[in-house]
């Protein structure tokens, strides 16, 4: 079993090598404040849509330009530019994962993940009303 054992060893070594180099390519989760401190670096920012600011999106003029304000849990605010169509559920999301780079006082976003309010038990038990689910649909008055 000499050669197969050698192959196994090479395999394990390759595995470790690849996973280590994978860890070098990973990015970070940041707040708006820390993202500002590393301009030009790819980061994940967890934030919320700032509903006090208008969402700029006009599909007629340019379907590939979206601009809105985001706030994070620490209260910091930044403007986000996204050169793509507006995510379908941006307005009703309760959390956004913004992937991109902070540059020249704007966050250039490559990808937006919208997290919609959870439909599941914990919240239901507390009787929270959440926009993701029609709170109690189809109930006769």
């Amino acid at each position: 079993m000499k050669k197969t054992q050698l192959a196994l060893l090479i395999g394990i070594a390759a595995c470790i090598g690849v996973l280590l180099s994978f860890l070098r390519t990973t990015s970070t989760y940041d707040t708006i404040e820390t993202a500002r401190k590393k301009p030009g670096q790819f980061v994940h920012v967890m934030a919320k849509l700032d509903k006090s600011q208008p969402i700029e999106y006009d599909a007629l003029n340019n379907p590939n330009y979206l601009r809105f304000a985001a706030v994070d849990s620490l209260g910091a605010r930044m403007y986000v530019q996204y050169n793509n169509a507006k995510p379908e559920n941006l307005e009703m999301s309760d959390r956004l994962v913004l992937k991109g780079r902070y540059r020249d006082s704007i966050f250039l976003c490559q990808e937006i993940q919208t997290k919609c309010p959870s439909k599941y038990k914990e919240e239901e038990a507390k009787g929270m009303k959440h926009p993701g689910e029609v709170p109690l649909p189809n109930i006769k008055p």
Binding site: M1, K2, K3, T4, A7, L8, G11, C15, L19, F22, L23, T25, T26, S27, T28, Y29, H44, M46, D58, A59, L60, N61, N62, P63, N64, Y65, N83, N84, A85, K86, E88, N89, E91, M92, V97, L108, Q110, Q113, K115, C116, S118, K119, Y120, K121, E122, E124, A125, K126, G127, M128, K129, P131, G132, E133, V134, L136, P137, N138, I139, K140
Partner: protein, 820 residues
């Protein structure tokens, strides 16, 4: 408190059946364990009988639960939380069926059902292995039954019942309308059920025929991985290291086929019906089901090695055990909510994390323990491997499959790593490339290995024979590869020449493998179809690799925005992948001219279809696509889009809606701008100018309609657009019953409404012009060109067909040989 109208009997039967399922599974497991066939003892027959009967009872209970739940969903019994949450009255029957497995409880139920069916087949076919294997299968049934039992034990919630009542679920606690005196702190009204008129519905994104067929196939695949695990463990526990090989073979083959098809269906679903923009995104959920498949395939091959050479027993056992354990791990990943940020699939925790982890532990720990205890006595063959032996290269191939799986699950488990070590490492910038850049090299090696390994013999291969037999396929491959290089090629350059070269090499190696394996059916097996399952599966696998590489590297976004409505793009404003089409106005997109013609709506749902005509500029090709979207579905603001595609044999044109005007913002608040005009005047508007023609007065109108002195004024005008085209329309206004009644004329493409307000006494005219974007009906699209996607689907089907041919052959062999 008594509530009227509830079918409480159904819930009682359901709960009782769940308990029966749990107890019977435990009993079956114990009885089958006692019925050890390898020790001669008279009471074994009785234990085996008890085991069988218990298993029949258990499976019947699961069937009863399943059909009871289906019946409740069909009857819209919204007093049950599961029914309320996952279905509605507007669903067609197939989606009522799909509602069963939308939720956590129902999908465990489906899994139980599939495992039960496989158990019944095992009872008929496993012969001497029935008891040892079924004791493990029954144990798995016991564990899964705890998932749907829904009991509270000392404050610990065990499982979650599909028969939970809506009023016990907490959903109604905050609905004043349903409570006595509108006070949520008081009990519910006795007739609260009368007020719940409809359910929460199946998620509209899942209202799709794939939702009907993908989960049953995938769960059959999940369930099937238990069988090789059970055989391997039974072999280890009973020290029957060789005997389990023949009966396990058909099951290992079957499992790879079904799980493979299940995964493919997920990919087809994502591709055809979701707007992920592809069939595979290395999403954690996808990876979690791919990894067990890869390891299962590795086990399938080491099993063959073991059968033919006596080597690789340990690897085979480990691979089969890991296949099942990774199914459990994927269950944990997808249902615990741990993936949170990293998956597009909307997962939320089910509050059963500890139970899900325990599920892994109760299989992992005993399996690891038994293997550890027994491994010293595993039979070992001490031979120096021969580099010309088939088994050596098969072993390398299996290792590569395993390596691929470990790398994928390692990268996917980043959130788990974060959780354990308290780190906050985020996925890399280009997640897909982080997988592709590694897996492409494994793909190259696997393509080469699958191409040549069949031409090697077990033990050792004469060099001359190897090359002689490989000569013809090599020749054909060179010709085809030249054709590929000239006519198709790889056009993906985004990741540099190194990666592009790897893509080229992998495409050509896959092509070689397709040819070599297809040729082997004649060269090696002389066209015997019953024996060519392996070669067919290899052709399919290689075709799949080829399809993946060519499709993914040559995929094109064709909705590059270059139409007149776009403002100039600033620096770095990429990607510009969305295109807005105004109704009735043709726009250019790649080699097509697109026109958004009209829209229509589903008769029962808030589902809109957008009719877009594609016309190629050379005029040779014309078709209509109807991507659709749920707009503001059930009060949820936003749209949920489903794509549409035109399928050709060699490519697909694929499009979906990314943005629509907000129908609620449609109120037109602009007012008419009135101005005096006379013949020959020119008036400017946003998108061009209007020239006024000579008006005409018609007095001969019926008096009973227009009153005394009624008349109609007609004004022909010419609308000249900036684009160069112009149209002539005639505006009309009537003087009736002493007032002017203008007839508005809407020019969709110009976003303008014109009306002739009145003609004054002196004959001069007043023209009203209203311009507003809200008048415009438009749709924003994204469109792709997918070449050779069908090769990919066909490849996976072929793999499954090959595996199933082998399954049948090996099962028949086993049944023949095990006859007493």
């Amino acid at each position: 408190m008594m509530y009227t109208g509830e079918w409480s009997w159904a819930g009682q039967i359901g709960h009782l059946s769940a308990i029966v399922s749990l107890v019977a599974a435990a009993l079956a497991s114990i009885a089958y364990t006692k019925a050890n066939p390898f020790i001669l003892a008279p009471e074994h027959a009785i234990w085996k009988r008890i085991g069988r009967i218990s298993f029949y009872v258990q499976t019947s209970a699961v069937f009863l639960i399943f059909f009871l739940l289906l019946y409740l969903i069909h009857q819209h019994r919204f007093e049950y939380h599961y029914v309320w949450k996952h279905s509605s009255k507007s669903l067609e029957f197939k989606y009522l069926l799909a509602s069963i497995w939308e939720g956590q409880e129902g999908s465990f139920l489906l899994w139980l059902l599939m495992q039960g069916v496989l158990g019944l087949i095992l009872i008929r076919t496993a012969k001497i292995w029935e008891s040892p294997v079924m004791s493990i299968v029954s144990f798995a049934q016991f564990c899964l039954s705890t998932m749907i039992i829904g009991l509270s034990i000392f404050g610990w919630k065990l499982g979650s019942s599909p028969f939970l009542l809506l009023r016990d679920s907490g959903v109604l606690d905050n609905a004043p309308a349903l409570h006595i005196d509108f006070d949520p702190s008081l009990p519910l009204l006795p007739n609260y059920l009368d007020k719940i008129t409809d359910g929460n519905d199946l998620n509209p994104l899942l209202q799709n025929y794939w939702m009907v067929i993908h989960p049953p196939v995938l769960f059959l695949g999940f369930a099937s991985t238990l069988i090789p695990f059970a055989f391997a463990m039974a072999g280890v526990i009973h020290r029957r290291y060789m005997d389990w090989v023949k009966p396990v073979q058909p099951w290992a083959l079957f499992s790879s086929a079904v799980l493979g098809v299940g995964i493919m269906m997920g990919g087809m679903w994502a591709y055809e019906s979701l707007t992920f923009g592809g069939y595979w995104a290395w999403d954690p959920v996808e990876n979690a089901s791919l990894v067990p498949w890869l390891i299962g395939v590795a086990g399938l091959h080491t099993l063959l090695i073991y059968r033919h050479s006596g080597q690789a027993l340990m690897s085979t056992i480990v691979f089969f055990v890991l296949t099942f354990l990774f199914i459990l791990y994927s269950t944990f990943l997808t249902r615990s909510g741990i993936l949170g940020e990293t998956s597009v699939h909307a997962f939320t925790g089910s509050g059963m994390n500890i139970q899900l982890l325990a599920l892994i532990a109760v299989f992992l720990l005993p399996a690891a323990g038994w293997i550890w205890i027994r491994q010293k006595e595993f039979p070992r063959v001490q031979t120096e491997e021969n580099l010309s032996a088939r088994e050596f290269w098969m072993y390398i191939g299996s290792l590569l499959f395993f390596l691929s799986a470990i790398l994928i699950i390692g990268q996917t488990s980043l959130p788990v790593f974060n959780k354990i070590f308290g780190t906050t490492i985020a996925p890399p910038e280009d997640v897909e490339f982080s997988y592709n850049s590694v897996q492409i090299y494994i793909a190259i090696l696997l393509a080469l290995l699958t191409a040549v390994t069949y031409y090697l013999k077990y033990k050792q291969t004469p060099r001359a024979l190897f090359w002689k037999r490989l000569l013809v396929p090599l020749g054909i491959s060179v010709v085809l590869a030249a054709g590929f290089i000239v006519f198709i090629g790889i056009h993906y350059t985004a990741k540099g020449p190194g990666f592009q070269a790897a893509l080229w090499v992998s495409a050509i190696c896959s092509l070689f493998s397709v040819v070599a394996n297809a040729s082997y059916i004649w060269i090696g097996i002389k066209g015997n179809l019953a024996k060519s399952g392996g070669a067919i599966a290899h052709v399919g696998f290689a075709l799949t690799l080829l399809g993946i590489v060519v499709t993914s590297s040559n995929k094109q976004v064709i909705s590059q925005n270059n139409n007149g409505f776009a403002t100039p793009l600033g620096k770095g404003e990429n990607p510009r992948e969305n295109l807005t089409l105004v109704q009735g106005v043709p726009a250019e997109m790649g080699r097509y001219t697109l026109t958004y013609e009209t829209d229509s709506t589903h008769p029962k749902k808030k589902l809109w279809f957008y009719r877009v005509r594609f016309k190629s500029k050379d005029g040779k090709e014309e078709f209509v696509l109807e991507p659709n979207a749920f707009v503001n579905y059930k009060g949820n603001k936003g749209l949920m889009a489903n794509p549409d595609a035109k399928h050709y044999w060699d490519h697909d044109v694929f499009t979906y809606v990314t943005s629509l005007p907000d129908p609620e913002a449609k109120e037109d608040t602009t007012s008419f701008r009135n101005q005096n005009v006379k013949a020959g005047d020119t008036i400017y508007y946003g998108k061009g100018f209007i020239t006024i023609g000579d008006s005409r007065r018609i007095d001969s109108v019926p008096e009973e309609l227009f009153g005394k002195g009624g008349r109609v004024v007609e004004l022909p005008i010419r609308v000249n657009r900036r684009t160069g085209e112009s149209i002539t329309i005639s505006l009309k206004s009537a003087w009736a019953s002493s007032q002017w009644m203008p007839l508005p004329d809407t020019l969709q493409a110009d976003g303008m409404v014109l009306q002739l307000q009145e003609q004054k006494e002196d004959g001069s005219l007043i023209l009203g012009v209203k311009e507003s974007d809200t008048l415009l009906k438009y749709v924003t699209l994204k469109a792709f060109h997918y070449p050779y996607i069908r090769f990919l689907w066909f490849g996976i089907w072929l793999t499954a067909v090959g595996l199933l041919i082998s399954t049948r052959r090996r099962m028949l062999q086993w049944l023949q040989e095990s006859k007493p």
